[in-house]
């Protein structure tokens, strides 16, 4: 019988950490960086109590390679960091992709490039969906927009990672990390060990050959086969786990595309545009950005007069939206950076401008 979820008032960081535990994570390796320090702090407190391992690595480079090691040995493992730290992990992450290792990363994005600042940002969109080090591998990328979703998505990320034998990144930001909201916690339970017949570890040589976890494939055809296998999994993931939410008018003139904290601000703006300006507006909010919800965005683009993208970057996510829209309607961008966040009023004004240009609103 499943236990009831307990409702608590909790920060995004804590909800993420508890989500990891609920998803079966018993191994955590990380290195401190604001604005996500509450996650390793929580894991340091909680994991030893339930027979898990928490280890503060000497750097992010070490942390991701510890993740590689634990994942190779069959453990449900996770690391969390923020932008510059995730950048440091890129080589190890590519090795995880090449070795087809399930693991979970959380990036509480902060202002950049460089050391940047500790304000909220969404300027690691390319890093998450296009980066992941060198080579053809990509991270399955989940984009929660509330404390509850941080919890649920982090918990769910472990199953997704195992299903596709691929790293999963939870992409959030400094506001979601630090804000507190009610959250219904998934009860902790002991999950059976993940089914990983390929994992390394003690075994009886009479029972099976030794397993080797490796990303060095000298033969071109063998290396290409790995890339093809990854690509096939991404195609499968696109069919099975692409996820998004929609909110607002059923007959929109303007479509807004935003994810994460930007989508929260846009929700308020959509309500204002519909109720106060009489501009029929609908928000399309990706919950996964790789795989990307191309179909709903394309389908709405056929029917609206204008689209607006709101993101905390100078324009990264907007490229995927334009690829989905394929010129079916004009796509405007409201991008803020460096820790700055647009106000609801800023978004409403851009909705009005887009509607005016499209000839669907009066001054």
């Amino acid at each position: 019988m499943s236990q009831q979820r307990r409702k608590v008032f909790i920060s995004g960081n804590e909800a993420t950490a508890e989500g990891g535990i609920a998803g079966g994570c018993r191994h955590f390796f990380g290195y401190p960086i604001t604005p996500q320090n509450k996650i390793p702090e929580y894991m340091a407190e909680e994991l030893p109590k339930i027979g898990g391992v928490y280890l503060q690595a000497e750097s992010e480079v070490a942390a991701i390679n510890m993740v590689y090691g634990a994942a190779s040995a069959g453990a449900r493992v996770m690391t969390t960091s923020s932008s510059p730290g995730i950048a440091l992990m890129q080589e190890g992450l590519s090795y995880c992709l090449g070795s087809e290792l399930p693991c979970v990363l959380v990036n509480m994005v902060r202002g950049g490039p460089g050391l940047g600042n500790i304000g909220p940002a969404q300027s690691d969109y390319w890093l998450a969906t296009r980066g992941c080090g060198h080579g053809d591998g990509r991270c399955i990328t989940l984009t929660p927009y509330s404390v509850q979703e941080l919890h649920d998505f982090t918990a769910g990320a472990f199953e997704i990672a195992d299903r596709y034998r691929n790293p999963v990144m939870v992409l959030a930001d400094a506001i979601l990390a630090s804000m507190m909201e009610p959250c219904e916690l998934i009860p902790r339970r002991d999950l059976p060990a993940p089914d990983r017949p390929w994992a390394v570890g003690p075994h009886d040589p009479d029972q099976r050959e030794r397993n080797i976890v490796n990303s060095l494939w000298v033969e071109f055809d063998v290396m290409e086969a790995v890339s093809q296998r990854l690509e096939e999994r991404y195609r499968q993931a696109a069919e099975e786990i692409t996820d998004w939410d929609e909110f607002g008018s059923d007959e929109p003139q303007v479509m807004i595309c935003a994810y994460g904290i930007s989508a929260r601000i846009c929700e308020s703006a959509v309500m204002q545009a519909n109720d106060e300006l009489g501009i029929r507006t609908r928000l399309i909010r990706p919950k996964t950005v790789f795989p990307f919800p191309t179909e709903p965005i394309r389908s709405w683009a056929e029917r609206v007069d204008a689209a607006l993208v709101v993101e905390l970057s100078m324009g990264q996510f907007v490229e995927d939206v334009r690829l989905a829209v394929e010129g079916r309607c004009p796509v405007d961008l409201l991008g803020r950076a460096g820790g700055n966040v647009p106000t609801v009023g800023d978004v409403v004004e851009k909705i009005r401008e887009a509607a005016l240009r499209a000839g669907v609103a009066r001054v």
């Binding site: 409702k7 008032f9 604001t34 500790i118 506001i175 630090s178 804000m179 507190m180 909201e181 009610p182 904290i261 929260r264 601000i265 929700e267 308020s268 703006a269 309500m271 966040v341 106000t343 609801v344 009023g345």
Partner: protein
């Protein structure tokens, strides 16, 4: 119903704990809530602000462009952050540190929170006096409910401070009542 409360004060005055308490109390009486902080990195003496949204609808943005109420705990808060308050909004001011009553198109509650805390004999109840005034001034929650949420939030070892906190909440609420007359 949608209340957007902005709070500001010096690190150590209990701005963020007070904000968390209001949001938690809102959750406990069935509202949808969020609490969002911005504070400087100093352990104490830095500057602290937070925004709380309380609504029976969708929270949407956890940030606020034009708060419907404010709790301002020191002179810097009044100087730097008071302007965006909506017309007719409620401004709760810590008058122990801000002697001059802010003038404008809003309601003001002058709460001598440091003095109340000193009389109670527990200087850490400054924020509770201000919360009490805000709760009664907006009419959004009873201070008994706030006290219940505080008890639930506090670790057991701090429950001995509950009477002082309840006292400060009530003293603040007495002043808050006057804003609703």
């Amino acid at each position: 119903m949608r209340e957007e409360l902005f709070m500001a004060g010096l690190g150590g005055q209990g701005v963020n704990l007070a904000g968390q308490l209001i949001a938690r109390a809102g959750m406990d009486i069935g509202l949808n809530v969020s609490w969002f902080p911005i504070y400087s990195p100093e352990v104490r003496g830095g500057y602290s602000t937070c925004t709380i949204v309380l609504t029976d609808g969708r929270v949407g943005s956890p940030t606020s462009e034009h708060p419907t109420s404010m709790i301002l705990m020191d002179p810097t808060a009044v100087e730097n952050f008071a302007a965006p308050l909506v017309r007719g909004g409620l401004m709760v001011v810590n008058s122990s540190l801000v002697p001059e009553r802010p003038e404008g198109d809003f309601r003001v509650l002058m709460v001598p929170a440091n003095d109340i805390a000193a009389e109670i004999g527990n200087e850490r109840t400054v924020n509770m006096a201000l919360i009490g005034a805000w709760a009664a001034g907006t009419g959004l929650m009873d201070v008994e409910d706030v006290a219940g949420s505080l008890r639930a939030m506090l670790p057991e070892r701090h429950h001995r401070h509950m009477p002082d906190n309840e006292n400060a909440l009530k003293r603040g609420a007495e002043i808050g009542e006057t804003a609703r007359l």
